[in-house]
């Protein structure tokens, strides 16, 4: 909320610099978001009286004026056409500086000397645009320093008022706070009145007992048609409120000043009728002061005259009964409404007004009558109005303006961690308006909604005394942290492995576009954009979007991974699953001038396969692979690898494998299908993997048991097999495993190649067999016997030949 410093100074003396003041406010919990200096560059503008206006001899659109400053006359040429002899106007004399640093000096206009400029509000920085020269009130003293006279120079503080401090949403409220912070007295609001007895009796009925605690109405007559005093206009303007007319300006002024919303009805619509605060009729319509029509419901509270809604209570006045340019007699309403209802009404109608934002945080019930008196005082002072005593003075039975809290000094000290004297606790509270009686504190009427339990007293003491005196102490009691959660431990281990192997970790949003979502189980009702409106079931869509982003920016050979959550709906309850997913495009090792390294470039499928095996091995798991055909759909759903409504296969058939640990499916990997990648505008080959960390975390890892290894040398025998491409290596592997001699320790592939020489339907597989005995050095003849037997069996089993 914006505050005019000049206005604040009406109630408290501020003798420190703006910077110091801002610091004091911030340290009392009122953050200052912006400091706006108004009119500080203005110089040499006076109020001048127009003595004569003559035609310019050489220009149709210009006139020559003589302006008096009370002692001397100034000749000024102007293009203005809204001026008359006798008008008092702001005059910039030579040497003047106007808005935006515009400098005025003596010059000639079409040959006629001109010593200054007549000003509009725009040139003084007071309005965005204006219709001609600013014609001032006839009472304005001629020759006066107009910048000071009109309070044009001001400092506006944009203060962020905390949600619990509705009492500071007014100039007087913040001044009250400042008087405590600055330790200076707070001036009283001037409300002296000459009262006339109420001329009529108006009935008031409150049908909204839970809504309206207090309602007052006052008749004010004969408000003269006068201009709103310049100072009031300036103050309103400084706080961002435009001037409309005297009647309305005063209600706005008092609202900003006291925080108590007021509403002025044209008396002719109220007099002699019944006023009530009641629920609106269903579908009742009202046109507001903003000329918009609001359809009301039985949830809405209205102020009705003869049963017809004339204002949405606390929110906006109705157009029909509002004051207009000719209004001289008004019915002035000041009331107190229930914050929660106002808040709901704001939401229902999508409307926040200067009134409603104050009511929603709770207004001071004591301020109702004071604000009514203050406005009446101003009408009387500036517009000679006849003010009647309250015609309606309703206060709900049992409503109390104060509350009390039971407290103990030692509790406050203990909570803060200090040992303050009772006086050190009392002083700030008393300054803030609290009253202390033994073990009870009485809360001032403007703080009753905020101060409910005793810790708020500690807060007030800290706020006013400052935090600097509070010692810094580390909690002494030892609380032993528990072991890292398994899920967390695994994601850290796997992340570290991926990073060590050249993967860049990414972090993405869990909300995705419906275009790439497999289902719409969890949808955001109020998304910022449709592109981020569905909760993802896994990380893939985001990871591919990031891949696309990078590929389009010439970032090749990508290796990216993310550890994050996917969300699903199980038995109508949201469930999250932690995944580690990654992509690899191009070479694992990048391009290198070192040939032996770049040779590894190539088959991403096998790179990922090896990577995952190593990753899981390092994490303590024995990873096994399961082909697409051998897996059950139910297993996939259980492991969150397949989701309801997801029939697509994002991988290339035959280049897609599932991962298992202890027979449990824990993930998958493969090469993504180009058709699938079209959605993302990716044309590169992309290898993808996905590990379900939530499932992995539930699996046991056994503590390793030592097995002695042979001390004797091993012997290797190789076979180069020519095998049909249709024969999967795993079949050979399994056969060897189940037929291996006791001394066979290891089998591995040392070469795979395809060539015309062996036929395009075949490939050559170089297999190495390593033999070793635990108790002695193997002799050649023993090795040969075992190896020959095995290879004979192998060739026979699959009907193979050697090369």
């Amino acid at each position: 909320m914006k505050f005019s410093l000049n206005w604040l100074k009406e109630y408290v003396t501020i003798s420190i610099t703006t910077e110091e003041l801002v610091n004091k406010l911030v340290m009392a919990g009122h953050e200052v978001e912006e400091i706006i200096e108004l009119g500080h560059e203005l110089k040499n503008v006076i109020a001048g009286k127009i003595i004569s206006i003559e035609k310019h001899p050489d220009a149709d659109k210009l006139v020559i004026t003589q302006i008096s400053d009370g002692t001397t006359d100034h000749q000024i040429v102007t293009g203005a056409n809204n001026i008359n002899v006798g008008d008092i106007v702001p005059v910039a004399i030579p040497g003047a500086v106007l808005h935006k640093g515009f400098k005025i000096k003596a010059s000639k206009l079409r040959g006629v000397p001109s010593n200054g400029m007549l000003c509009s509000e725009t040139e003084l920085g007071l309005a965005e645009s204006s219709n001609g020269i600013w014609i001032l009130d006839k009472e304005t003293p001629v020759g006066v320093d107009f910048i000071a006279y009109a309070s044009i120079q001001d400092t506006i503080l944009d203060v962020s008022i905390l949600p619990n401090r509705g009492d500071c949403q007014s100039v007087y409220g913040l001044a009250r706070e400042l008087s405590v912070v600055l330790n200076t007295p707070l001036k009283k609001l001037e409300t002296t009145l000459t009262l006339t007895d109420s001329s009529s009796t108006l009935s008031f009925s409150n049908e909204g007992k839970e809504f309206c605690d207090r309602y007052t109405g006052r008749i004010i007559r004969n408000i003269k048609k006068v201009d709103t005093p310049l100072k009031i206009k300036r103050f309103l303007q400084g706080m961002g409120v435009g001037s409309i007319n005297m009647v309305v300006d005063i209600t706005n002024y008092v609202l900003l000043e006291t925080g108590q919303p007021l509403h002025a009805f044209d008396l002719s619509h109220v007099n002699g009728h019944d006023v009530s605060c009641k629920k609106a009729n269903a579908k009742e319509k009202i046109t507001g002061l903003d000329s918009k029509t609001y359809e009301l419901s039985t949830e809405d509270y209205v102020i009705a005259i003869n049963g017809k809604a004339q204002a949405v209570a606390g929110l906006i006045g109705g157009n029909e009964s509002s004051v207009n340019e000719s209004t001289a007699d008004i019915f002035l309403e000041a009331a107190n409404f229930f914050p929660v209802s106002i808040r709901k009404a704001q939401q229902r109608h999508g409307l926040r007004t200067e009134s409603s934002i104050r009511f929603e945080k709770g207004t001071d019930i004591e301020a109702v009558e004071r604000a009514s008196e203050r406005a009446a005082h101003l009408y009387q002072k500036y517009a000679g109005a006849v003010v009647e005593s309250l015609t309606i003075d309703y206060k709900k039975e049992g409503v109390s303006s104060s509350s009390s809290i039971k407290f103990a000094y030692k509790d406050i000290n203990q909570l803060i961690g200090l040992n303050l004297s009772n006086q050190d606790i009392d002083n700030p509270l008393i300054k803030l308006g609290f009253e202390i009686e033994n073990d009870r504190v009485f809360v001032p009427s403007w703080r009753v909604r905020d101060c409910i339990d005793w810790p708020c007293l500690a807060e007030e003491v800290l706020r006013i005394n400052g935090f600097d005196g509070v010692p810094s102490v580390l909690p002494l009691e030892t609380v032993i942290p528990s072991k890292k959660e398994r899920k967390r431990e695994l994601r850290d281990l796997i992340s570290d492995f991926m990073i060590s192997n050249g993967f860049n970790q990414v972090v993405s949003f869990p909300m995705i576009s419906p275009k790439v979502a497999v289902n719409q189980d969890l949808v955001i009702k109020n998304p910022i954009s449709l592109e981020a409106s569905v909760m993802r079931v896994d990380i893939q869509p985001e990871l591919l979007r990031i891949t696309e982003h990078n590929l389009k920016r010439q970032q090749e050979n990508l290796k990216l991974f993310e550890v994050g959550k996917g969300f699903s709906l199980v038995n109508n309850q949201p469930k999250d699953t932690v995944f580690c997913e990654g992509i690899c495009t191009g070479a694992l090792f990048g391009k290198s001038y070192q040939k032996n390294v770049s040779k590894i470039k190539g088959d991403d499928y096998f790179i990922i396969k090896g990577l995952l095996l190593a990753c899981l091995k390092q994490t303590g798991f024995n990873l096994e692979f399961l082909s697409e055909e051998d897996v059950d759909e139910s297993e996939l759903i259980e492991s969150s690898l397949k989701n309801k409504g997801d029939d697509s296969n994002s991988y290339i058939p035959g280049k897609h494998t599932y991962l298992t640990v202890n027979k449990k499916v824990i993930g998958e990997f493969g090469i993504l299908h180009p058709n699938f990648l079209d959605t993302y505008d990716i044309s590169d080959e992309v290898a993808y993997f996905k590990l379900n960390i939530s499932v992995l975390a539930k699996l046991n890892v056994e503590v390793a048991t030592y097995r002695p290894f042979s001390k004797f040398p091993s012997t290797r025998r190789d076979i180069a097999l020519v095998i049909p491409k249709s024969l999967a290596f795993e079949k050979i592997e399994r056969f060897v495993e189940s037929n291996k001699p006791r001394t066979l320790k290891k089998t591995f592939i040392f070469d795979v190649f395809e060539s015309e020489k062996i036929g395009s339907e075949n490939r050559s597989l170089g297999l190495a067999f390593v033999y070793q005995n635990d108790k002695k050095t193997l002799e050649d003849k023993d090795v040969n016997r075992a190896h020959d037997k095995l290879s004979e069996k192998l060739l026979k089993e699959f009907n193979l030949s050697t090369r």
């Binding site: 942290p481 860049n504 972090v507 990216l560 969300f567 090792f589």
Partner: protein, 337 residues
């Protein structure tokens, strides 16, 4: 015969020292000590001299032979060493050529920042826990003393789901879960993603917070101050900090904590909005209403809670000026951390 021995000794000695390469030396060795060597000839001649002279002569021959053998071995070592040196000298490489490119991965700056923070707080006994992103209104608001029509809900631009859930607007719901399932003492931190419908250079609809909670029989604001001062000093080094009053429905008293701007050292700059201070933490003493909502007796327990914005810290530490960079995940960004 003695003369003959001496001449052989001299000749051999000279040949050994004169050998230029290890191959030359091998020749000398076989000529001197091999089967058809002069020494062997001498040994055969031994049978021709008088019997009584034989032992002495034999001994003498052996001594000379041994000496030569030692000499050869020594010479051999010297030659091999110098030959290796000269061979190495010819195998020069350009040592300034770049090394083989090993894959270098990177940890996302947000992860790094979370790890830095949890490590510091872990040292003073805070246990890292995990919360859930999808929450009910009760955990995200009600239990934290943010009732349905509380104006503080305006501070939270909430995303609502089609089910009766919200995306958590802060990590504070984790406090409630923790207190519901455990009894004091509780000392936890909960890092995680949070969500607000808000998006510009400094606001992202998704960002990260770290929640802290300490609950015990008696806990004071002084302990909150001590804990956060320790944390900030470990994170930023010894730098001025200030506590200023604030408001959160779930704490009372509440405070926000600023560090002196790390960019301008408090002089005032664009980063700190010319205030010289940067707000990095919100904190306070757990509101008694919160204890009531988890079934604790507020007269028997006290606690403090705090929340840190991870992106804010990461931006300050690394000089990142646009929060969206974290989520764009451009490799040229990721590779810098």
């Amino acid at each position: 015969m003695k003369t003959q021995l001496e001449s052989i000794q001299k000749f051999s000695h000279d040949s050994i020292l004169g050998a230029k390469t290890s191959i030359d030396l091998d020749l000398v060795k076989s000529r001197t000590l091999g089967k058809s060597s002069d020494f062997n000839g001498l040994m055969k001649m031994l049978a021709t001299i008088p019997k009584e002279e034989r032992p002495e002569m034999g001994k003498l021959i052996n001594t000379v032979k041994n000496e030569l053998e030692i000499l050869i071995n020594k010479k051999q070592k010297d030659l091999l060493k110098s030959e290796r040196e000269s061979s190495l000298a010819t195998q020069k490489i350009d040592s300034s050529l770049p090394g083989v490119e090993f894959p270098v991965g990177t940890k996302h700056p947000i992860t790094q920042t979370i790890e830095r923070i949890t490590e510091i707080l872990g040292r003073i006994g805070f246990d890292t826990k995990e919360g859930t992103e999808i929450e009910t209104d009760f955990y995200n608001f009600e239990a934290l003393n943010i009732k349905e029509d509380h104006p503080a809900r305006d501070m939270h631009d909430t995303f609502y789901l089609n089910t009766d859930h919200v995306l958590r607007t802060h990590t504070s719901p984790a406090q409630i879960h923790e207190m519901e399932s455990n009894s004091p003492p509780i000392k936890i931190i909960v890092p995680g993603q949070v969500f607000r419908c808000d998006s510009d250079v400094t606001h992202s609809p998704v960002f990260h917070q770290i929640e802290g909670l300490y609950v015990n029989k008696k806990v004071s604001f002084a302990e909150l101050k001590g804990t956060l001062s320790f944390f900030i000093n470990e994170l930023f080094g010894t730098t001025p900090i200030r506590f200023r009053p604030s408001y959160f429905p779930f704490t009372e008293p509440s405070s926000e904590i600023d560090v002196q701007c790390v960019m301008c050292q408090g002089k005032g700059c664009n980063v700190c909005g010319h205030t010289g201070w940067l707000e990095i933490l919100g904190a306070g003493m757990v509101n008694r209403e919160v204890f009531k909502s988890v079934g604790y007796n507020p007269d028997e327990v006290q606690g403090f809670a705090f929340g840190v914005g991870v992106e804010r810290i990461a931006m300050l530490m690394h000089g990142i000026n646009d929060i969206r960079l974290f989520y764009e995940n451009d490799r040229r960004f990721l590779e810098q951390f």
